[in-house]
Structures are given as structure tokens and as C-alpha cells.
Amino acid sequence: MRPYIPLGTYLLLMALAFVFPQYSKLIASIAFFMALGQAVNIFVGLTGYVDFGYVAFLAMGAYGLGVTVYYMTWLGILALPLGLLLGVSLAASLASLVGAIALRLRGAYFAIATIGVNEGVKHLIVGANIWGGGAGLILSSSMFQAFGRDTALFLANVGSTVLILATGLIAVVAMYLIQASKAGFALAAIRQDEDAAKVMGINPTKYKLMAFMTSASLSGLLGAAYFSLGNMQVFPENVFFVEYILDGLAVMFLGGAGTVTGPIIGGLIYFGVRYLVGIYLPGLQALVTALIVFLVVVFMPKGVVGTLRELIPSLRSWLP
């Protein structure tokens, strides 16, 4: 397995964000799709389960960092690592809670059981009026205070982009580690036939939960980097926006579910298509998402990477 393409892409984009800070936001938009696809892939691609309440994990990450910076300005620059840690922990905890109950269900039943999670958590925050309630958290002045003006602006511009790219990079490493380990085989067996996996001595719930929590933690990190750090604000309407899971699924299927490079290539193509549609057919991006998912699932179920690997076997080691 040659990890040059996934690692090279992320490192190159990181370097570009540093050298050309004026393009940092553009790179962040591309990287967001790549990293989201990558995180979704660790759960959906490896287990074959779909979670429609998934966006709540992005939101948990965003709120973790947002709340820390907003309410604990006195932490100074420490608010950043501590806030990220809180965001990831919130996402992982929510995943363990949802997973421990719902992952005992099979495929479609799991998807249905999780539909309400995203809206449920959102209405908890808005309804109970905690963490800024429906008005959200505007972080710019807290960030200026905590980090200093120049540092805050640098973190919001280049810092958030690098963190989004780092999330993708961590996801690549996580994917390698899982696939090379015993857990990778267990998940492959579960995906192909869960009942058979059970009688092989595999505890399916354990491995599904592991993949779910890893995926959720990465999404938490992504949500913190993109919304709180990058936009300097956390609005419930934005961070619980249910379409992000459709984006994540589209990127993953487009690139190739269960592959390491799939979401990277999928993210690049997906961003490109949405960008062009935004220019020529403004307002129709959401329609394009639906169309892409439909066409890919019907005509190219293994995605771009999966199909390329099948057509040109020598590419296999280059496109893990």
C-alpha cells in the first residue's frame, strides 16, 4: 500500500494555505468535503450502516470549542486545545450513547432510529436555551480577547483550514490502522454478513461502536475547526444543517466507500461540480447532490476509486 496520494494531497493543501492565505477559505471549503467524506467513510464505508442524525456530531464539536471560547475567555490560547478536546469528547459521548442503544439494530432500523438525533439535540439546545440557545454563539470578540486580535484572525483564516486538513489526515491514518488490524477484518465480515460474523466469534456491536465513535470524534473535530474556529460563530441552524450528511455520503459514494483515497478524490470532484453549478445554475447545488448520489449508486456503485482499481489493477496499491 502506497500512502503517497492521500498524505501528499493533504500536506500539499496545507502548504498552499500557509503560502497563499488569501486562498485559505477556498481550500477550507474543499477540505471540508474531503474530511467530512473521510469521517463518514470510517463509519458508513466500513460498517455499511447509515446514520441520518450524523450532523449532530459536527454540531457537538462546534459547540465544544464555541462554549469553551465564549464562556472561558480567561483560558487564553489554552481555550483552543481544551475546546477542541471538549468538542471531540462531546461528539464521542453522543456517539457512545446513541450507538450503545441503536447499534444493536440492523441496517435500515438503525438509520430510522437515528433520524431524530440531530433534531432532538438541536431542539434541546434551542428549547432549553443553553449554549446561546436559538441565537447561537458569536465568538469573534471572545476570540479577540482570548487569543489577541492578530492571532485570532490568523487562526480563523489559516488555522481553521490547517485544522480541517489535519482532521482529514488523521482520518487517513485511522483508516489505515483500522484496516490493517483485527478490527478491519471484523468490520469487513460484519459488512458482508453480520449473522455469519457473529458465529465466527465476532462481537458486532463492539466493532460497530468503535467505528461509530472514531467517525463521530473526527466529525467533532471537523465541526469545531470549520464552524467555531473558521466562521467564529456557532448557529444552531448552521451546525445542525441536516444536508451535511448528504454531502458526506455523496463524497464517499462518489469516491468509493470503504477506500482511503475515495473521499479525497470524491471531495475534489464534488466541490468542483458544486462550484461550477453555483456559477452557471445558482441555487441548484442541492439538486446536484441528489443527482450525483443517484447516478453514482446506479451506474458506479464502487465509486471513482473503486472502479479505477477494478479497471486498472496496477493502480491498487496507489489508490488504497
Binding site: 465480515a189 454478513d193 449473522d195 458465529v199 465466527m200
Partner: protein, 234 residues
Amino acid sequence: MALRVSNLASGYGRLQVLFGVSFEAPSGSVVSILGPNGAGKTTTLLTVMGVVKPWDGVVELEGVDVTWLPPHRKVELGISLVPEGRRLFPEMTVEENLLMGAYTKRARDKIHDSLELVYTLFPRLKERRKQKAGTMSGGEQQMLAVARALMARPKVLLIDEPSAGLAPKVVADLFQTISQLKKEMSVLLVEQNVAAALEISDYSYVLENGRIILKGPASELVENEHVKKAYLGV
């Protein structure tokens, strides 16, 4: 006694399928559970395995109560199931399927030894070891399903309907191999193909409507009037 099951009851939702089933499978023998469609044969194996939760009764493995353990713990302790319909991992090669069979710690330590063993039992699998499991013939797939279960190094091997959908000649070969397995373990066979099953069984139980209605050495059951009339068509 390798496997002793007493008064086992279970079902799905509110539908009870087994009404107090008891049987024994000593090591060094092939024991079969025979019966018509819907009698509860597969449910019996799934309940023993823990895939279907027991409602009542006791499952003992070598004298230890394992009734309430989940399937993955039972595999570790030495019960292995060849599921109905084979249930191979279709996208994995023959060898990968076999390696999956040796998933538990205890089995992994003996993995090379086990591979050699199953390749000796089923030389055809060795020839096909790089082939995707889903692309093989029915007979070969059934061999692989049995071999995969053997990779877990079971003390008790449960086999569910191995003859389903196979040509008589293939069934005969497969059953020949199954009857050899009893040297190392206890084999519990569930079958609709009563004639073939009785031929290799030491002891048999007849299950109808979730209850054992007949039992005895296979050689005696062959002569039983009910068995003859209902199952052997003579």
C-alpha cells in the same frame, strides 16, 4: 458429555417455536436432529448458539452452563455453527473466509495447523484458495462453510442443512467427510434429508412442532414405522 441441552424453549417475538427440547451430543459421535420444515430445527441450533435468545432451559458445554452467553463467547468456548444457507463472506477469497473462521484468540494460535487440517479434508478448497467465495459452486461453498467453522477449533460442531440444494453425489461426499469429523469433536447435524443423515448418525432425534417426538440410535430409527412412513417414503 460435550453438549447437553435440557428443556430448551425459545421463539421469535411472541411466537414460541421450541417447547422444552432436550438432547445430548457426546464427543466422538454424530447426532442428528431430523424433522419437517418449520419443526424448529434451525431455531434449535440458533438458540444453542445464542443467536436466538433462549426463553428457558439449560445449555451445557462439557458440564458448564453456557445458556446465556452471547454467540461470540460460545465460539471462544468451543461451539461452532455452520449456518443454514452457508452464509459465506462472498467478497472474500476462500482463504480469507477460512482465516475469518479462526477469529477467536484460541483459534488464532493454531491457525496454520488448522489451515493444513481443512485443506487435507477438502483438497478442492486448497486449489481454489485465491478464488472469491461467492463465485464457487454450491458444493464447494458448503465445503468452505464447514471448513470455516472447523477453523474455530470447536468441541461441538453444529451443522444446519448442509445438503440443501446439492446434488446427491455431492451430498454423499460431503456427508462422508462430516462423518470423519467425529473423531475430533461432537457433531450435531440438522437435516431434512433424513435418509442421508441417518446413514452417518450414531444417534438421532425427531423434532416435530417444537418437540422431540422420537429418539434412538440411528440404526433403530431407520426401522421405526413413523420414520419410515413420514420421512423415508417406504
